[in-house]
Amino acid sequence: MKDLKGFINPNLTPGWESPETLNTWDKPGSRTPLIGAGNTDATVTEKVCRVIEGPPTIGWIIFFLISASALSLLGILVPYLIFTGVGVWGVNNPVGWGYAIVNFVFWVGIGHAGTLISAILFLFRQKWRTSINRAAEAMTIFAVICAGLFPGIHVGRVWFAYWMFPIPNQMELWPNFRSPLLWDVFAVGTYFTVSLLFWYMGMLPDLASVRDRAKEKIRKVAYSVLSLGWTGSNRQWHNYERAYLLLAALATPLVLSVHSVVSFDFAISQVPGWHSTIFPPYFVAGAIFSGFAMVMTLVVPARHLFGLKDVITMRHLENMNKIIMVTGMIVGYAYLVEFFIAWYSGNEVEKFTFLNRALGPYAWAYWIMVSCNVLTPQIFWFKKMRTNLKVMFIVSIFVNIGMWFERFVIVISSLANDYLPSAWDYYRPTIVDVGILIGSFGLFFTLFSLFCRFLPFVAMYEVKGVIAGQEHAERQEESAGSSTEEGASPATAMT
């Protein structure tokens, strides 16, 4: 594989490029290799499998213990909530939806990046998704688990939570099919199921690789069971790739539908600040925004800790930063249009609600939201910032904070100051609210650290397909001198 410098036109780069950022430049018309030079099929397998084959590192153990401690908070506070009642939360009379709904929407949003990367970017032929899709999909599933927790404990009598499902019963008791809260059950349930299948199916060839490398008996048996007898035969690959394409096409509408349905929870109502027709696409953009930020938060340290810097390269990170920037601006667009229409509508309550958000008792939350979501990502206009690991990590944290506050602003500010000033109240979370939020982060990070420990962090076979494509392109360039076609099917990489 030739040196990356050959792919760059020195006249078109500013001169500060470091070896690490070298593959973020293209000579117009050529495609700089995504995966670092010197990587072959063997080295990719080695690098990825090494993470889960060796003994756990000190860093991992510390991270796991911190996450598990936070998780234990959930183990204490959720039973306390169940035995005592939702009064332990800060919800009050106008604000019946507090942290629980904010956290639910936040976590569902986080869960959007995975399927977007694995399905939509697949349909758009974005090869760079291959290095990050596995981790992003895992993150999606864990985020949806965290999200699912909150409606469950919010129902008050948790032992009746199964009433959310339309189960035939002799009481002739059915959930309200006209309620978007029930649609949520279906939308999130479907999303979780399909994401899980998609993730697991995408992992089969890699699980087989881990199985083939396993030396201990238990390990071998475990990964044999998990890999469902994958042999990597031509016939299996053929069916596999057809199935992957179809699943991608089927999963694509789900990326849009889940958060659209979540937005319906608010937008079908008549509550000012909630009822806005732009909510579905605006929520979807926000979800992708926060999801990519979380992927960034996880991947920047992970690639460092696991020695995957030339598999998840600066190019991947820069592309994600661009998506964060685009979706952040779509969210900013929605803020703008909402504000404008609130005034344009001539509806007094609507106008008040938006002014109240910006200037009222929750103005602090509103301005945290605006500065984190709209202003912070603007730093990515500068390539130097887009390719700076510290900057992107910090921005991703800010975006996570900002997107949590977005849901806080929407849920709380509209409820706290509704139509009747005499009914207004100020919402204050209790220590239990905060503890459960921290606990949900504990759950998320615990699951994610377990994933890092036991399952291949990178979709090895897909990365190998990209490497094969790079080599193919180079050979073509050598022979024809012009072609730059990228990527070959994973099958050619494996067989």
Binding site: P28, F264, S269, P280, W343, T484
Partner: protein, 440 residues
Amino acid sequence: MAHTPIDITTENRSLGTLASGWITAGALLAVIGVLGTLLLGNLEGAFEDLGPAHHSSGTEGAAAEGHSQGPGGHGESHGFISEWSIYHPYLVSACFFLTITLGALFFVLVHHITRAGWSTALRRIAEGISRNFVLMLILFIPILMPGGMDHLYKWLNPDPGDALIGVKESYLNYDWFLIRIAAYFVIWIGVSTYFHRKSVAQDSSGDESLTVHLGALSPVAVILFALSITFAAFDLLMSLDAHWFSTIFGVYIFAGSVLSFHAVLALTVLWLQSRGRLTRAVTPEHLQDVGKMMFAFTVFWAYIAFSQYMLIWYANIPEETVWYLRRQSTWLWGFWGWLMVLGHFLVPFLFLLSRHIKRRKTTLVVGAIWVLAMHWCDMYYLVMPQINGGGEFPFRMLDVTILIAMGGLYLIGMALALRGNSLVAEGDPKLPESLVFENV
């Protein structure tokens, strides 16, 4: 794997004699359209009353709307003009072509931003179509004259005591409206001209730095595009009923724009190919991708249209539902609504699903024409139902003749923009990738 790259210099890639053909055909259509409009317009009495509109006419519409509640509880005053004028079909057709042009501009910008490879062989045609903003500006002038505005936009002369329009007077007033429209066209004409000129300049120079330059410029251009298309949609179409509002409306117009442009792109390319142009540079692979984009934006349009309808229907707030009530309270507009659901979404969705349909010329042409027809129906659906309170079908032959006239002018505009330069961005370093591109 990839087929052998063609030598672009051997390709017939200039409009050549076809330009005069297009101009003749366009002129013919324009003359037929204008004559037809004049003739039929006279017969139908469309030119009789081009002076200031009767402002009492709103109440007739109110009567026809029957018992439906006045918007916002503001009694008899209405935010829309309910009397038909020739400006209504004119606005429908003008918006039809304006949205196509906007779609072309978006195509150019988004493919620069994403450094797309596959589309390079098609980009010049999009650039050419986007140059029609100059024509669109000329076509919009009659609407922007006080006479035209007066027949279209009630907020220009609202009913006395109409408090709802009163509060937005600082936005909806003639001067500020004209300034905004001028600003939109400055953005559109400026951006489309710049991107087209630079691309043409690259044909001869092959300067790679132009690709980098346009790539760096396109994000800024897209931001301007997003804001301008949104507020243009609010101004030109949403304010037809100055009482009504919907935050998603700009996105709705955007979805239709991109969809209709891809249909025009497919038709243009196939027409050029049938005349021996670009026969090898544009392959079924490109056509399939254009078809995919049509499919994707059919779904996206439906998603946006559904979101708007569902949320307004469910919340059932009179100030919002009036807009759909007007479109549902008579059988004709009810039928038209179903035409949107089935014709604008379900039929093209099912039709464009198959790979073979997108790759075969005849079927793609059928799909593209259908999509365009539905886009026109969509524009009609946005402008017309407030006429006569929806009670009387406002269709006249003028709807067709004006469309033909503008279509003819649009074709001339395309010919003028595309002639003289290569039909392919042949200096673009990404072209080789596009020429050998294959759908896997």
